[in-house]
């Protein structure tokens, strides 16, 4: 590996790119877009979209994902348990219920949507519905 890789291949390059879209107005048009747990990042890859959320300590059985039309709903429980007789020094990890819906500006092909959950990071792939895809118009 090169000592100085290309600027976009570095972590800082990625962090700056993510910062540039911080609270962009992409989702703001819908009332359910923000203000609840978990924080989400939305990415585009060609025609398809991907939704990524950090949910450390949530097991995949405690997670419920629903997709319908343009809406994605993410709900579940995040718990943090302690043994009964322990004395607690620090308690920073959040725990509780969450339920968040977001409305995307595209229609999702719900049959082809997939989700992966690795190391506390949830990634939902949302392919754009065929009928929602833009068409090129030939000039006659």
């Amino acid at each position: 590996m090169a000592l100085f890789p290309d600027p976009f291949g570095t972590l800082l390059g990625l962090q700056n790119a993510l910062d540039a879209f911080r609270r962009s107005d992409w989702l703001q048009s819908s009332p359910s877009a923000s203000g609840s747990y978990p924080p989400l990042n939305v990415f585009r890859k060609g025609d398809d979209f991907a939704l990524v959320a950090e949910l450390p300590g949530v097991s995949s059985s405690d997670l419920d994902i629903q997709v319908k039309g343009r809406t994605v709903r993410l709900s579940g429980t995040k718990s943090a348990k302690y043994p009964e007789k322990a004395s607690i020094h620090r308690r920073e990890r959040l725990q509780g219920r969450f339920d968040r819906s977001i409305t995307l500006p595209i229609e999702v092909d719900q049959d082809r949507a997939t989700a992966e959950f690795h190391d506390g990071v949830l990634a939902i792939t949302l392919p754009r519905a065929e009928r929602d895809k833009p068409r090129s118009i030939q000039i006659g």
Binding site: T10, L18, L27, R44, F49, L55, Y82, R93, L94, F117
Partner: protein, 132 residues
């Protein structure tokens, strides 16, 4: 029960660095739970995106240093359109007050949570003294 509580969003805290790295990039502070039982100190650190091969734990002069590296190669071919949080490696250090049996430390990563069990050294275990 606290389980029925609605979760609020808490911003990820960027680590205030004491020593700079040669490669630029922001580090984040993992949220931690620490509890102590009779025979061990247990630390739980939330490091989403860190797999078990990318965790580094060191103890030096009673300072426990934990570092977790994320794999950001998955972000290479995709383009952000809307973001609410940033990603980065994780690092945090704690000064330990109890004597720890270093050879018996165990670490486990599950669903992005690192669990460190630090058994207390024999001489640090409390002893009940019987009154004659």
């Amino acid at each position: 029960m606290s389980d029925s509580q609605e979760l609020a969003v808490r911003e990820k805290q960027e680590l205030a660095q004491q020593d700079e790295k040669t490669v630029p990039g922001r580090y984040y502070m993992p949220a931690a739970d620490i509890f102590e039982t009779d025979d061990a100190l247990t630390l739980l650190l939330e490091m989403p995106g860190v797999s078990k091969n990318n965790v580094d734990v060191q103890i030096e002069n009673d300072v426990l240093r934990v570092e977790g590296k994320i794999d950001y190669s998955a972000y290479k071919d995709i383009e952000p359109v809307y973001t609410e949080y940033n990603v980065g490696h994780y690092a945090r250090a704690f000064t330990l007050s109890n004597k720890i049996d270093r050879d018996a430390i165990t670490a486990r990563v599950e669903d992005g949570v690192l669990t460190l069990t630090l058994p207390k050294a024999k001489e640090a275990l409390s002893r009940r003294i019987a009154i004659n």
